[in-house]
């Protein structure tokens, strides 16, 4: 019985040590898999790191992927602070493309700095709507967001196929995609400002992502609404007691979450592809769950986790060219292992680490007992 009383880890261990241990384990297991198919794990690791950070070109692509993951990671984190698990980031990011393309095409001959804010608003509006509906269903009808958001992913996918094929595809083009946006309406690549990045896909949307990270930090910890949503996430009965409207908070948070996910569409449609294509989200919404988990729902953590996953995507792509024996599928396995150990199984080391910490420090243990007796004693 007494062994069940464990004190939470000190913050630095929770935020830094645990993710590093998880990541190390993911790499060790990946290394074993690489070894099993007769390749050199260290060479593979070297290829991934060089492929992700080796030069401006590679790093640019890493940042391009990271941009998407920052948005989807934030989307998950903001909802998580309010106790909501939004796993519909994929659908919200996907359908937001409709809003972005709907303004980007008509405004394509205006300068990008006019198109950009309008595209943000349009993407946020449509993505936000796709988050609002499940939020409304939860707040007013008690349908759990976990169920509805995942359903909305499928609905979004179906709608997008229909819209692209039947509405947006210009006559005479065979591929299922919208018309191209004129060069004036395209987001400038970062390479235009910083030559080191060359002509890689990382574009001005990265700045938007950084602004969103700062904004989310302020929202969550320095606004009245942030207080209310964190309160809801911790104890919905207490927010009802306090008279904060739980239903209102749920609807606003889900809308914000969907809007953040929708920013992926800005990155993809006006920043990279210059048109609406099918499946451009490429599961960034789901990676966002792992990013938020690994980043402990904190903007700084999300920034770091997003760069890590961006590096894995980019480095993994390079890997197959450097080591021909490692196929594209192998790269997916490594990415999956990282998601598994840092995302799904992020608590694996926690009890062991807590025990180590408690053995090292008797005060920790005493504190745990006290906290426990306060909880059960009254």
């Amino acid at each position: 019985m007494s062994s069940a009383i464990l004190k939470p880890l000190p913050r630095w261990a929770d935020v830094v040590l645990l993710p590093i241990l998880n990541l190390a384990l993911a790499f060790i297991v990946s290394g074993l898999v690489v070894l099993a198919i007769g390749q050199d794990p260290l060479a593979a690791l070297n290829a991934i790191v060089t492929g992700a950070f080796g030069n401006g070109y590679n790093f640019g692509y890493t940042l391009y992927y990271s941009t998407n993951f920052m948005f989807t990671g934030l989307a998950v984190a903001v909802a998580a602070h309010a106790g909501l698990f939004n796993i519909g980031g994929n659908g919200q990011a996907y359908i937001a493309g409709l809003g972005v393309i709907a303004v980007a095409l008509p405004l394509q001959f205006l300068p990008w700095w006019i198109t950009f804010p309008i595209a943000i608003v349009a993407g946020a509006a449509v993505g936000g709507l796709w988050g609002f509906i499940p939020g409304w269903l939860q707040a007013k009808r008690g349908s759990h967001v976990v169920i509805t958001t995942i359903m909305f992913n499928f609905i979004a996918a179906a709608i997008m196929v229909y819209m692209v094929v039947n509405v947006l595809k210009p006559a005479g083009i065979l591929a299922p995609e919208s018309a191209m946006i004129a060069p004036e309406g395209r987001m400038p690549k970062l390479g235009a400002f910083i030559p080191w990045f060359k002509n890689t896909d990382v574009n001005f949307t990265l700045v938007l992502a950084l602004v969103c990270l700062v904004g989310a930090y302020i929202l969550i910890w320095h606004t009245r609404f942030g207080f209310a949503m964190r309160a809801l996430g911790q104890n919905p009965t207490a927010t009802r007691y306090a008279g904060m409207s739980n239903s209102r908070i749920i609807m606003i948070v889900m809308t914000m979450s969907g809007a953040l996910a929708g920013m992926v569409a800005v990155n993809q449609v006006v920043g990279v592809q210059y048109r609406l294509v099918l499946d451009y989200v490429a599961d960034a919404g789901f990676v966002g769950i792992a990013v938020a988990l690994m980043g402990r729902n904190h903007p700084v953590g999300i920034l770091l986790a997003a760069v890590l996953f961006g590096a894995l995507y980019q480095g993994g792509n390079e890997l197959q060219y450097v080591i021909p024996g490692l196929s594209k599928e192998m790269v997916v396995v490594i990415q999956a292992l990282v998601i598994l150990f840092t995302g799904a199984m992020e608590g694996l080391f926690r009890p062991g680490l807590q025990r180590i910490f408690m053995t090292l420090s008797p005060q920790q243990k005493a504190g745990a007992i006290e906290a426990n007796s306060v909880k059960s004693g009254s």
Partner: protein, 546 residues
């Protein structure tokens, strides 16, 4: 039934058998010698010696965190002691788990019943003690055994009644029967009367006396000194992990026990002047409220609270008090009725009703502070503004000025003597009494016209109880209207200027605390009103909710 000494009772004979070996040890059912239990730096049990004589009721009192529960958990096999010895009937045993404790004849009746609601009493008794693959023979044996136990200890129950249909008092009997069925000679009861009416508590005491007279040993953990005086033969007082003293109950008094518990002199009675009621501040008219399952829990309740008076609502837990509080304070939608504050109807519907109630001047100290009144994962200062976070004092526009909120929290910590005095500490790390002070400070410092307090001192140490009661009386003397709901009849009687008794969702009576006897109130709490008309028929028609 009147003869309490069935012949051939093995338990009754056991003392004589044991007496042959050693006179001193034979008396003792349980002996704890030098028990130590540390959790890291916390010395939860310090060198505890305890001797419990066979065939006695032995009370253990102490404040929260004094180590009573740890000690009993060691005896019942939940924890193992770091050092020390446990002797059961004179023989040392290392009790490893509760199954082992039961095998040694030690049974426990927990504060929160561990019963399966939709099983019959018989099935609950057998649960976990089935001795064959097929249920039939076990149930038949249990039925015979229950009949025997019922005769022997006057513990009558209907074995086929479903748990959720029977009263709380009966459910507790089932817990006792479960322990006896498993062969318990020593019964540990943890705060057994918290959920009982005074009449049910009396009934429990009668059962405990019968058990004692039949040779069973009872260990009673309680914080109610009145019960210690009423039922126990010996009482042990614990303070801060140490055993302070063991006394013969007949040779002590509540004041002495309270002093031993706290370590200083404590005023047990609330000292207050007569109320000077003014205008009606709160009026509740024909209120009907349903619970989450759609069951009507408040049935057409009307009452008023005037400025400068404390109205206490007495009643056994679960008779609609929670729903009444929640609906007046805007936490729960009402089905019909009006709540007026200084004559103006409050609009309480919607999930931000509590916000409007607060704006109108109604503050609420909820009965379950950890579930409702606080967010225990938050820091103290964040809880110090919960519900008032839109106050302009905490910043302009959407931005929250945490420095201003923390400064205010620091002031209140000083004023209400909240310990530890650290507004950046997580609220979960404060004791029950200090958590309650955080809530009280938040609600009282807003200077509301009406203050509603649910269970003002539940889980609060004796020392803090005094402070909390004085604060409530200070509010009253400042001309505020105060509504107090408590299941502690003693608290209601000493605090309230006027008592309303709630039973089955209705106000069944009003009483003057100065003149009403505990017996009268107890009868009302059980739904028995001496009004000649209508009342008996209604009571008979209603099963008691739990």
């Amino acid at each position: 039934m009147s003869s309490d000494t069935p012949m051939g009772d093995p338990i009754a004979q056991r003392p004589q058998v044991a007496a042959a070996s050693s006179a001193a040890a034979s008396d003792l059912a349980i002996e704890l010698i030098g028990i130590n239990k540390r959790f890291g730096a916390v010395h939860a049990n310090k060198d505890i010696d305890l001797q419990v004589r066979r065939g006695t009721v032995h009370g253990i009192v102490g404040e929260n965190g004094a180590g009573k529960s740890t000690l009993m958990s060691i005896l019942y096999g939940f924890y193992t002691a770091d050092s020390g010895e446990i002797r059961v009937n004179g023989t040392p045993h290392a009790i490893t788990d509760s199954r082992h404790a039961l095998a040694l004849g030690i049974g426990m009746v927990h504060q929160h019943f561990m019963l399966v609601d939709n099983f019959s009493i018989l099935e609950n008794v057998v649960l976990g003690a089935e001795d064959s693959a097929m249920l039939g023979p076990s149930l038949d044996r249990a039925r015979k055994e229950l009949t025997r136990l019922a005769k022997e200890y006057r513990l009558d129950v209907n074995p086929d009644a479903i748990i959720e249909d029977v009263s709380v008092g009966t459910q507790q009997r089932v817990e006792i029967l479960k322990a006896l069925y498993r062969g318990a000679d020593v019964l540990i009861l943890d705060e057994p009367t918290g959920v009982l009416t005074p009449a049910e508590a009396d009934d429990l005491f009668r059962v405990l006396r019968t058990l004692r007279d039949q040779g069973k040993t009872i260990i009673l953990i309680t914080h109610k000194l009145r019960e210690i005086m009423a039922i126990t033969d010996y009482v042990s007082v614990m303070r801060q992990g140490a055993m302070v003293d063991t006394l013969k109950t007949s040779e002590t008094n509540p004041e002495q026990l309270a002093e031993l518990m706290v370590g200083r002199r404590v005023l047990l009675r609330v000292e207050k002047t007569a109320a000077k009621p003014g205008d009606t501040f709160l009026s509740v008219e024909n209120l009907v409220v349903k619970d989450d399952l759609g069951v009507t829990r408040v049935k057409d309740v009307s009452f008023t609270v005037r400025a400068g008076e404390i109205v206490g609502i007495a009643g056994v837990a679960g008779n609609g008090q929670s729903e009444l509080l929640e609906s007046i304070s805007g936490m729960r939608d009402q089905t019909s009725g009006i709540v007026r504050l200084k004559g103006t109807p409050l609009s309480l519907e919607g999930d931000d009703g509590a916000h409007r109630a607060r704006k109108a001047g109604l503050a609420h100290v909820p009965e379950d502070r950890q579930r409702m009144g606080l967010i225990t994962a938050f820091e103290e200062w964040e809880n110090a503004m919960l519900g008032y976070e839109d106050d302009p004092a905490y910043g302009k526009g959407i931005i929250l000025d945490s420095a201003a909120a923390q400064a205010e929290a620091r002031e209140r910590i000083k004023k209400f003597d909240i310990r530890p005095a650290n507004e950046r500490l997580k609220t979960a790390n404060f004791s029950g009494g200090n958590q309650q002070k955080i809530v009280l400070a938040r609600e009282m410092e807003r200077n509301p016209d009406v203050l509603i307090v649910g269970q003002p001192t539940r889980g609060v140490d004796i020392g803090a109880i005094e402070f909390i009661h004085n604060q409530i009386i200070k509010m009253r003397d400042a001309g505020k209207a105060i509504l107090v709901v408590s299941v502690e009849l003693d608290e209601i009687r000493s605090l309230a200027d006027r008592i309303l008794v709630m039973f089955d969702g209705q106000i069944v009576g009003e009483a003057d605390p100065a003149t009403a006897t505990e017996g009268e109130l107890g009868l009302m709490m059980a739904g028995v009103t001496d009004k000649k008309a209508a009342a008996p028929a209604r009571v008979a028609a209603q099963g008691q909710g739990s």
